[in-house]
């Protein structure tokens, strides 16, 4: 297993990684094709823009209401879960969460964990933590399993192995699964993977899962999945440990209705997933299956920082569908790994700074043209471009202007030279005389314009000002006479 840590020690250079990714034709082609496919699938689920708008309005309202009441709902959730016999644990940091989970497993002398798909477990790098302490964690979601065999990290939050080709997977299975023949037949590959996983379910001491929605009113953990592996992980082993972020709580069971209607449609273009698990209690005395113990670990890891700011709080509305990355022209071209964070794409750009600080993630909010394709499809209407602009401001904030409750890493991008360039720009463009002088010089001395213009001319012809600005030309121009009306259109 690779142990390079992507989350807590993000690689220093987004630029270097994105440069390598964008110049990798195989990656470009496979992501391009996958994104086209996913976009078309999602579009087929929302044939009517009004229908989407209405469902999104409902979903956004649920998320906003639940976040507004978050502190109370978390208390209610804990009370209700405890009453149902589910143990609740709180973790502020990834280390705390890892220690909690390992402690639970170690106390029962567990050696093998099977895991359902959980991005929060990726966020805390649980597998590596357990591995180092003698507990083997096996990913059971097929995509996660493939990525784990390859010693990699997910490149997408919903489709972790989307960067892998059939041939890659065939080679991996042939190499890692005992007696597996080399085949590129998809059904055969899935069967090979499922058979290998089935053995692990039988032997596992603990099942670990994520949570899509935690219902405060009833004390219910909801798990959305397609492969049935989530149900296996949460019913077969005697111990089930669920982990999720504190923002995943909803108030009422009925709140699930719009969220579950919009989540799979946005994510994979499915009207409904194959499995929807509602976990409300451990095995009861009269029941023949199910875990004997159920635990929930609620992780903060920077979410409180986002929560404290009214605008940035919108980040926490996210239901992790991945539609933003599926529609992002930048993600399409560099793939998920180039971001160097567990959450890639637009959602990663706005949430990673809270988890890792702006110092480590300062390039991420800049990795967007602000085109808005992400917010267009976001099922809970997160204004991602606005949040990116806000984070750019926070990263560039001068030391003289630090607020009372700073964001971690605030001001990390501040450079005196950059600040002065902008001040000079404002001096020129903010004063008519200065601007007139500047544009006069730029047009008169246009032949002196450098032909090498940094990143611009790496892919384009140089920008050369016109001989005379519009301002100047209009000073000498006489208005055009109106034309007679034409009977062009009935």
């Amino acid at each position: 297993m690779s142990t390079h840590a992507l989350t807590r020690h993000p690689t220093p250079s987004f630029k270097a990684q994105s440069h390598a990714a964008v110049n990798n034709p195989d990656l470009r082609q496979s992501f391009g094709g996958a994104m086209d496919f996913l976009q078309a699938k999602r579009a087929s689920q929302f044939p009517d823009p009004e229908g989407f708008a209405e469902l999104r309005r409902l979903s956004e309202a649920v998320r906003r209401r639940c976040l507004a009441k978050l502190p109370d709902l978390l208390v209610q959730l804990e009370t209700q879960l405890t009453a149902n016999g589910i143990h609740v644990h709180w973790a502020e940091t990834p280390d705390e969460a890892n220690a909690l989970i390992h402690g639970l497993i170690a106390a029962r002398k567990g050696r093998l964990a099977v895991k359902g798909k959980s991005m929060v477990s990726e966020e805390i790098e649980l597998n590596a933590y357990l591995e180092a302490r003698g507990v083997t964690a096996i990913e059971s979601d097929m995509g996660e399993y493939i990525v784990q065999l390859a010693g990699e990290k997910p490149s997408h939050i919903i489709m972790p192995a989307i960067h892998k080709t059939k041939a890659d997977i065939a080679a991996l299975f042939h190499q890692h699964i005992p007696h597996a023949p080399y085949t590129e037949d998809v059904d055969a590959l899935i069967q090979l993977g499922r058979n290998a996983l089935r053995e692990h379910y039988r032997q596992a001491d603990v099942g670990i899962s994520g949570v899509n929605f935690a219902v405060a009113e009833t004390g219910t953990l909801c798990l959305v999945e397609n492969e049935g592996n989530g149900r296996m992980c949460t019913t077969l082993p005697d111990l089930h440990i669920a982990i999720t972020g504190i923002e995943k709580v909803v108030e009422k069971l009925t709140d699930i209705v719009p969220l579950y209607a919009i989540l799979p449609r946005s994510a994979t273009g499915q009207a409904i997933t194959t499995y929807f698990n509602l976990i409300s209690a451990p095995r009861q005395p009269d029941e023949k299956d199910g875990p004997r113990e159920v635990h929930l670990v609620l992780l903060d890891n920077g979410r409180s920082q986002a929560y404290a700011d009214e605008q940035l709080r919108q980040t926490l509305q996210c239901i992790r569908c991945g539609a933003c990355m599926n529609h992002c022209p930048v993600y399409r071209r560099i793939g998920g790994h180039a971001y160097g964070t567990v959450y890639p794409g637009p959602i990663g750009e706005i949430i990673s700074p809270h988890m890792l600080g702006l110092e480590a993630t300062r390039d991420l909010p800049t990795a967007s043209t602000l085109c808005g394709a992400c917010s267009d499809v976001c099922p809970v209407n997160i204004p991602i471009p606005d949040l990116l602009i806000r984070l750019r401001q926070e990263a560039a904030r001068p030391p003289s202007d630090m607020p009372l409750h700073p964001l971690q890493g605030q001001g990390a991008s501040y450079r005196l030279t950059t600040a002065w360039v902008w001040r000079l720009w404002a001096a020129v463009y903010g004063h008519p005389v200065g601007y007139r002088l500047f544009s006069w010089c730029a047009t008169r001395f246009r032949r002196l314009t450098p032909r090498r213009q940094g990143g611009w001319t790496a892919h384009r012809t140089p920008l050369i000002p016109a001989a005379q600005s519009l301002h100047e030309q209009l000073q000498r121009r006489r208005p055009t006479a109106p034309a007679a009306p034409e009977s062009h259109r009935p």
């Binding site: 800049t366 043209t369 394709a373 611009w456 384009r460 012809t461 000002p465 055009t480 034309a483 259109r489």
Partner: protein
Amino acid sequence: MPPIASPSRPTDVYFFGTCLLDLFLPEAGLDAITLLEREGLRVHFPQGQSCCGQPAYTSGQPAEARSVARAQLGLFPQPWPIVVPSGSCAGMMHRHWPTLFADTPDHAQAVAVAGRVVEFADFLLNVLQFARHDHGDPTQVAVHTSCSARREMGTHLASEALVEQLDNVTRVSPAREAECCGFGGAFALRHPDISGAMVSDKAAALQASGATTFVTADAGCLMNINGKLGCGTQPFAGQHLASFLLHRTGGQA
């Protein structure tokens, strides 16, 4: 039947030329003004104008964005529409100025000015009901709409409709028509590889669409895509929507 005058059809408009058009594409600004005048409007171009402040705003420099935007606020004293021949600048003024000036003494003025900002294609189609004879030869044209015009201003249908109403022009749709061209202001300089990949794909899609040219109502996209196309060998380039419309409908009256 003559075009039906909109009840809100003004006699006078302000024209905000934008900084990119001013320095790099002044002829597109002149063409836009000529088109408006030909429709019987008096067009006022305040000479004190420079930039909407967007470059600083999207680079995380709100103070500098505000000081440049503030210099524009007083240039539009009459209650006339402010026509902007660029979707992203119109989006900055219409949508972001009120936020930029929140909690400042200029907020009320910023909101009032922002409310009068209208994107050029939207104004031409929906306020002036622009409908002129097409004097050009039969041709196929692609329309590239900026992301701001599409998603902030919602005016991409106006550009498309203006092109489609020309009798001899067939509008073609390139692959992934709604995808960003990769400009993004400072993004093109900060992430040249990603931006370059995006504009290469956009240029290739436009060339493969069967169009003989493409038009756009946004100077940033136009400079970006034409800059890329200029590196190639094919004689294919785009033009501003205003220039295209003026040329097709008989030039100056």
